[in-house]
Each structure stands twice: as structure tokens, then as C-alpha cells.
Symmetry: C2
Subunit: 149 residues, 2 copies
């Protein structure tokens, strides 16, 4: 069994994709993150869900987390406004984490080793520079431990 047999379809986002759209894709499929590709489909980065959350937090709260406690209830619309003018490029932290990238004929052990080394919740599987799909840690565990799920 090889990476291409395990990969699942995933929603494509680019650097220019609106942040709110990326957030909705993560929410809809309960994804641990998204793979970000160039305009030509070449995978370039993983955007973890927690990075999108980070962008919703005002800078002054990120600098001093104790301030979050004194703000009281902030309307959801106001939290969402932080994301509304942003794109995926804005959400990516700098430097971006190393992209977990495998080839279609890589084995399950190579997949697990890479995911473990990068502590990444997902790997992109590529052939000829194009993304075939992704493998999440949960999918890999299903494959290995799921006989009697």
C-alpha cells in the first residue's frame, strides 16, 4: 500500500484565497489544516487550523494574553472582522513550517515517519508536482488500527 492509495481529496486553497473561505473549509470538513498551492497547483505550505485561529486574536491580546480576560464578551461579528480583509498569505506565519510532502509511491512507514518528524497533522501527496490528495494523522491511524472500527 502506497501513499497514493491512502490519500483523500482535499479542498485547494491558494495564497490569495480569502481567509474566511479557508476557515469555512476547515470547519466544514473538520480538517486539521489546509494545503496551500501556487497558481500552477504546486503545493507550497500547510496552513494549520490553529494559525487561522491566531489571526482572529487581536495583536494586543496576542502580546498580552491576560487582556483576553478583561475584554468580556466580544461579539462574534467583531472576531470575524479580523479575518474579513485577510487572505491565506496573511494567515501563514513566517517562516512557514516545513511542508510535509510525499510522493505517490512512498510507503506507509515513510508517511508515518515524515508526519512524526514534522509533528504535522497532515501530509500532501504529490505526483509530478500536482497534489493527489492529503493524508491526515487520523486517516493513517484508521488505516493501521481500524480493522474493527
Amino acid at each position: 500500500m502506497r501513499a497514493r492509495d491512502i490519500a483523500e481529496p482535499y479542498p485547494v486553497v491558494g495564497f490569495g484565497t480569502p481567509a474566511v473561505e479557508a476557515a469555512r473549509l476547515i470547519a466544514r470538513d473538520r480538517l486539521p489544516g489546509l494545503v496551500v498551492t501556487d497558481a500552477d497547483g504546486t503545493p507550497r505550505a500547510v496552513l494549520p487550523a490553529s494559525e487561522v485561529v491566531r489571526f482572529m486574536v487581536p495583536d494586543y491580546v496576542q502580546d498580552d494574553p491576560a487582556l483576553a480576560g478583561v475584554l468580556g464578551d466580544v461579539p462574534i461579528q467583531q472576531i470575524r472582522a479580523e479575518l474579513e480583509d485577510a487572505t491565506v498569505a496573511d494567515l501563514l506565519s513566517s517562516p512557514t513550517p516545513e511542508l510535509a510532502l510525499l510522493h505517490g509511491d512512498d510507503t506507509v512507514v515513510e508517511l508515518a515517519a515524515l508526519m512524526a518528524r514534522l509533528r504535522s497533522p497532515l501530509c500532501a501527496v504529490v505526483d509530478n508536482g500536482m497534489v493527489l490528495g492529503v493524508v491526515t494523522a487520523a486517516r493513517l491511524l484508521e488505516l493501521v488500527c481500524g480493522d474493527d472500527l
Copy 2:
């Protein structure tokens, strides 16, 4: 809206839970990880899905990832065998990452700020030392951006 209103039920695991059982829970619900509690229900750690994957990789491959490529196809049963005698305590890396822990009356901004600071894919929500549920990054994004999902 407070953390207790957003928290979702989650499967409980203890330090003695078999690793294969923890892996199946992650796989079944496509979770980014699990909250690990003491016997009395006190939350103690987050077990990210990628840590479970790490345990499936033989030590000599973790030490030298290039070896994964020369192993060829390893039967799924053999990969699973790495997990079979292990418990959740064995899977947790040392030192364990800081547990993302909120109280039921913490606000959405406090939740987002904590998740962002710890780069954690999930937070446990507790009242009186007992876990009410968890909030994943995907759930938080659904709440904030999901009006027209």
C-alpha cells in the same frame, strides 16, 4: 457566548488506555487529538494524533528517516504491532506539551488566544476540575465563520 456553550463531548482516555484504542477513537471521529485524564477525571495532557503516529515508526527509522525508504512495503499488521503493547502513557512525549485548559465561563477570545499561543488543535473546557468537553480549532472556526456554511 462562553467556552461551556461551545464545548463538544469527547471520548475520555486515561494514561492506562491501550494505544490501539486511543488510535481508534482519533480515527473514528477524525479528531486532532485526545484529552488524557487522571483516574479522577482531572485533565492532565493532550495527546496529539501525530504523537500516536510517531509511536508506529520504529526507533531506528525515527533516528534515520532515510531508512524508511529502503524498508519497502511493511505489512500494516507489523506497523500496528508497534502500538499493540503500548498505553497512552507510552505515547505521550516527554515533556508533555502544556495542556490547553479553559474554564466554562471563559470567552471566545480567551479560547482563541490560548489555542493560538499553544498552537494547539484543541482545548479542554473544565468546571470544578471535571472536563465538560473540548473545543477544536475547526469548531471555533465554524462558530466564527460559519453563518453560511
